[in-house]
């Protein structure tokens, strides 16, 4: 028996009531790399992403079988402390969702909840997180302002900074740039490339160029099954399956 990868799924299935949205998927996410999940709408890639930090638990009537392994622990086991698990897996969504609080509070909220009360320490964390999200220079003079006053792209980077503030080991990105203009998208992509040095990143995207640009591995989903999974170069240049080829070509065309 081979030891599972530090972060991987094994035979994972997700059901919504009777409907099986994800069908027996086993795949791993190597460290210090970006894995892109692609596929047509409704193929289950977002569901799969959301199941990785068990956000699907929040949807009434959903259940799962199989395993998600993280450092040898099964995250789907019944005794797992989901909240503690989520503290190690950050997540960012398609639409920026900053808290209705100040920029500073958006970042400091998580660390403070984890027990850091020292003002100086919090200041440090806010600055580092914003710097890592490449937002510091734009907002350093207005940390007390409402986060909702920022532009869409800034808000999205703020959300990334917020996820980084608690030092996660894994970052899940659900179409993080699809609601943004090209300039902001560029910034986010640069950011992803920069961040993968310290993190495993899993990203869902509809944008093939983006997947090609930022990811190291790509997985193609279709109707809840994992059709093909491999290094991005290989998937984009020489996929094994026809359907992968067609999808990628179609999206390029």
């Amino acid at each position: 028996m081979v030891m599972p990868m530090p972060f991987s799924t094994e035979d994972l299935s997700i059901y919504y009531g009777e409907f099986q949205a994800i069908k027996n998927i086993s795949m791993g996410f190597p460290a210090a790399s970006v894995t892109a999940l692609i596929g047509p709408s409704g193929c289950g890639k977002s569901t799969f992403l959301r199941s990785l930090n068990r956000m699907n638990d929040e949807i009434a009537g959903s259940r799962s079988t199989g395993h998600i392994w993280m450092d040898g622990i099964d995250l789907t086991a019944s005794g797992t402390d989901v909240i503690k698990l989520r503290q190690r897996i950050g997540m960012v969504w398609q639409r920026p969702n900053p808290f209705y609080k100040s920029i500073y509070e958006n970042i400091a909220f998580g660390p403070r909840y984890y027990g850091i009360k020292n003002r100086k320490q919090l200041d440090e964390i806010v600055e580092t997180s914003l710097r890592r999200a490449a937002l510091w220079d734009e907002v350093k003079d207005r940390l007390k302002e409402s986060a909702l006053a920022l532009s869409g792209g800034q808000q999205q980077r703020l959300c990334i900074a917020r996820a980084l503030s608690v030092n996660p080991q894994i970052l899940l990105l659900d179409e993080p740039a699809s609601a943004l203009d090209p300039v902001s998208t560029g910034k986010i992509e640069e950011l992803i490339t920069e961040l993968k040095k310290d993190l495993r990143i899993v990203i869902v995207t509809h944008n093939m160029q983006q997947a090609a640009r930022v990811s190291d591995y790509t997985a193609y989903f279709y109707l809840g099954t994992l059709v093909e999974h491999g290094e991005t170069d290989q998937i984009f240049t020489n996929p094994e399956k026809n359907s992968t080829q067609e999808y990628i070509m179609g999206r390029f065309g």
Partner: protein
Amino acid sequence: MTTQTQILRSKARKRAKTADKVATVVIIVFALSIVAILLGLIGFIMFRGLGHISWHFLTSNPQTIREGGGIGPPLFNSLYLLVLTMIITIPLGLGGGIYMSEYAKPGKITSFIRLVVEVLSSFPSIVIGLFGLLVFVNTFELGFSLLAGALALTIFNLPLMVRITEQAFAGVPREQKEAGLALGLSKWKIITSIMLPVAIPSLVTGTILAAGRVFGEAAALLFTSGMTTPPLNFSDWNPLHPRSPLNPLRPAETLATHIWKVNSEGLAPDAIQIAAGASAVLVIMVLLFNLFARWGGRTLYRYMTASKRMN
């Protein structure tokens, strides 16, 4: 043949057009008559009452037999009763509403609770008043008191508050909750620190509107807070002293019960004017509550979403 059908058809169309015109006029007349009723009522109340309102009227004590009685204590009682009611209602209503919106799973129990809320909110106020008389006034030996009144009014306002809270929380964008979850916050922390601030504007609007309802209630209070006010010493603010205005265990007539009493038992020669003046004050208060609720909600919302400085 064809001309005949044509004639018939054009006749039918003409009839339809006439019916349409008549119906439109009827609808407009009915709608305008509602506006007329409202304007008439408000105008009537103001016309009868405004002339009687003065600073003296608003602050002085009611008189039993002499002219020139005021509505100071009833006005104070109304406001204080409101505060007491809200102190009890808000925590309970928030809890109930949060349960319905965040914890309840669809099923028999949840729909039962929903039924409870619905039934509770449609009980006639007199039934609640009688229950208050039996339980708060007699069984708990509170006597006719502000506290008994506040508890009865709580029963009234609780279902409303639960609904307001449930709706306010349901109105919070799902993404906010998800952001909190992904950050590894506990559910309760998300509810109190992430969702509550977002829900506050609609909570405030709803609560103030509900509070306005308390202000006008009389039937339930006749049996619980009583129809009298002991002489108050407005320089004694210790709630434990029997003559302090803040003592929750003293009886109190509110503005609404005062109107009822003056109308029915008034011995003073200017009873009718006092009833009219007090009615005008009551309606003005309700109007103010309405305006304030809207304004407060909107201002808070603006403050929460786009203000320059916040923490």
